[in-house]
């Protein structure tokens, strides 16, 4: 029964990675850049939700959309100020800028909110579902996290597959210059991509801090890097790949913690990544078989 419990915890953690990885992979697919500040947008989202709930006493039903709104604006602002001027610059300059933005957000958060960790309030009811005569307990938090990931995944797949903005995104991802000559405003498309990715980051931030309720300015950085790993693992640029990569990474991490070693769990996660990339350099679902965004 503990195996099943670990598996569910792994899927839950993986769901958070997957939601973050979606932001990485969509931005990469369309803007062809690695937005290393993405992890820190998660942290900002969590802080916004924290203050909305704790300082202003707002209910989560207001706090979470508020966090999404702030992160959407933040993501679009970052794109506008930091990345858009570098549209024609070599990718290395953009990468370094992204790392710079990441540090800017972390240090900005330290300045405004101090380095003291804060205890994130429980957003969801502190209840649990008992199965098999109480041998297996699944918290509401876990269920909500997995459900959120599935809903987001289905929603994004429909969005990119069916709507005209989604089609424009796929067109930009495949051939930006041809898309422009079809009358598509690429700058606007990139902006929308950042908006969606950042709104998802806010959700991930709330879910992450609900599961691991210690909030610091560096809270987003490690999950951010792991989610990036998940995106590469699944095949960067691919939406189903980010989903699969995220879930698998979560499961591997929890299993490594449970059965091998807590200290080595991160090392094992990255070892798996290295092995996958050695065998399949484009990631699990990289290129060909997938709907790219």
């Amino acid at each position: 029964m503990s195996f099943l419990s670990h598996l569910i915890n792994g899927i839950s953690l993986g769901s958070i990675y997957a939601i973050i990885a979606l932001g990485y992979t969509m931005v990469y697919g369309i803007a062809k850049m690695l937005n290393f500040a993405h992890g820190d947008v998660i942290m900002v989202g969590a802080y916004v939700c924290f203050f909305a709930l704790n300082s202003f006493g707002l209910p989560p039903a207001v706090g979470i959309p508020l966090a999404m709104l702030v992160c959407t604006a933040l993501g679009m602002l970052i794109e506008r100020l930091a990345y858009k001027p570098l549209r024609a610059a070599p990718s290395l300059s953009v990468l370094i800028t992204a790392i710079g933005v990441s540090y800017f957000l972390q240090n900005g958060a330290q300045l405004i909110w101090s380095t003291n960790p804060r205890v994130f309030p429980s957003v969801f009811e502190n209840a649990a579902v008992n199965l098999f005569n109480g041998q297996l307990t699944i918290s509401i938090n876990t269920i909500v996290t997995i459900a959120a990931c599935v809903v987001i995944m289905v929603g994004l797949t429909l969005f990119t597959g069916k709507t005209k903005m989604g089609k424009a995104m796929r067109a930009c991802s495949e051939d930006k210059d041809a898309a422009i000559l079809m009358g598509i405003n690429v700058n606007r498309t990139i902006s929308v991509t950042f908006a969606i990715g950042s709104a998802l980051a806010a959700i991930a931030g709330v879910l992450l801090c609900s599961a691991y309720p210690l909030l610091k300015p560096t809270t987003g950085s490690m999950p951010g890097i792991k989610a990036f790993t998940a995106a590469v693992f699944g095949g960067i640029g691919s939406i189903p790949g980010a989903f699969l990569g995220g879930i698998l990474l979560g499961i591997i991490e929890i299993f490594a913690k449970a059965y091998i070693s807590t200290e080595l769990s991160d090392a094992i996660v990255f070892l798996v990544l290295i092995l996958v990339l050695l065998i399949k350099p484009t990631g699990l679902l990289g290129k060909k078989t997938v709907v790219k965004v």
Partner: protein, 275 residues
């Protein structure tokens, strides 16, 4: 085919288009790449429903002219008036929305998308629902999407490609990919269609069919077509006005008959005759 008649600005256009505003009026266009005058003093008029050809040896600057017309390149000198409007300073996507569509010499379809989705991307700006109604799945969203799909299928019908709608664009045979590019360009609802070597890689039978299709497209949509092509049977067969480019400069302009017998053109293509 109408005979060519002079315009007030001394170009020639088909007789049926005379008296109507020009679709394309290019004056003294030039672009430098470093010290190289890639295109120099390029002047061309195109009537509203004219099929015009741009020919010349490899490297003459023909595709550069297309890139200038679509504002992918900003000209160093000169003016392009499209339907009477100066296109200087506009972004390529804005120029596309004004009504200029193009195909590419090296096919640039969205290969991982379906044939139908490629056409729908072309129709991007004519599907007028908002993001909100898409998210909320309002009836207006479904109606507009349905209309768009019907129109896309109708356009695919020009080349009898409806049965390929669900295929992946990259899996199409070469000739079908070229035809799909034309359909995708038409989907943007252009007034001027630029075709960059539409018959490249096609056999004579396919080329003959393509000629018929281009003429039908012009008749049905009442648009102008400017095409770059090396296949002289196609150029001489359907173009009403032809401009010949060599080393970035126009060396001859006129009807197919004029061009065929022009000694400068023959020299550019075959080299100077020694005697």
């Amino acid at each position: 085919m109408d005979r060519l008649v002079p315009t007030p600005s001394l170009g020639v256009i088909p007789e049926r288009d005379s008296g109507k505003p020009l679709i394309l009026d290019i004056h003294g266009l030039g672009i430098d790449f470093g010290g190289l005058h890639a295109v120099e003093d390029f002047t061309l008029l195109i009537g509203r429903t004219e099929i015009a050809g741009l020919i010349g040896p490899n490297g003459a600057g023909k595709t550069t002219v297309f890139n200038l017309i679509t504002n992918v390149y900003q000209p160093t000198r000169g003016v392009i008036l499209f339907d009477g409007i100066d296109t200087r300073g506009k972004r390529p996507d804005e120029v596309s929305r004004m009504g200029i569509a193009r195909t590419f010499q090296n096919i640039r379809l969205f290969k991982d998308m379906t044939v139908l989705d490629n056409v729908l991307v072309g129709m991007h700006n004519q599907i007028p629902y908002s993001m909100l109604s898409a998210f909320l799945h309002l009836p207006s969203y479904h109606r507009k999407e349905k209309e768009a799909r019907e129109k896309a299928m109708d356009l695919l019908g020009i080349f009898d490609m409806q049965h390929m709608a669900k295929w992946q664009a990259g899996s199409l045979p070469y000739g079908a990919q070229r035809r799909l590019e034309i359909v995708r360009a038409l989907a943007t609802d252009p007034k001027l269609l630029l075709l960059d070597e539409p018959a490249a890689g096609m056999n004579p039978a396919e080329t003959a069919e393509l000629m018929e299709n281009i003429r039908n497209i012009r008749d049905r949509f009442q648009i102008a077509v400017l095409l770059i092509e090396h296949d002289m049977s196609l150029v001489m067969g359907i173009c009403e006005g032809i401009a010949v480019l060599n080393y970035g400069k126009i060396i001859a302009k006129g009807s197919p008959e004029d061009i065929k017998n022009n000694p400068t053109v023959i020299e550019a293509y075959l080299g100077k005759q020694e005697d």
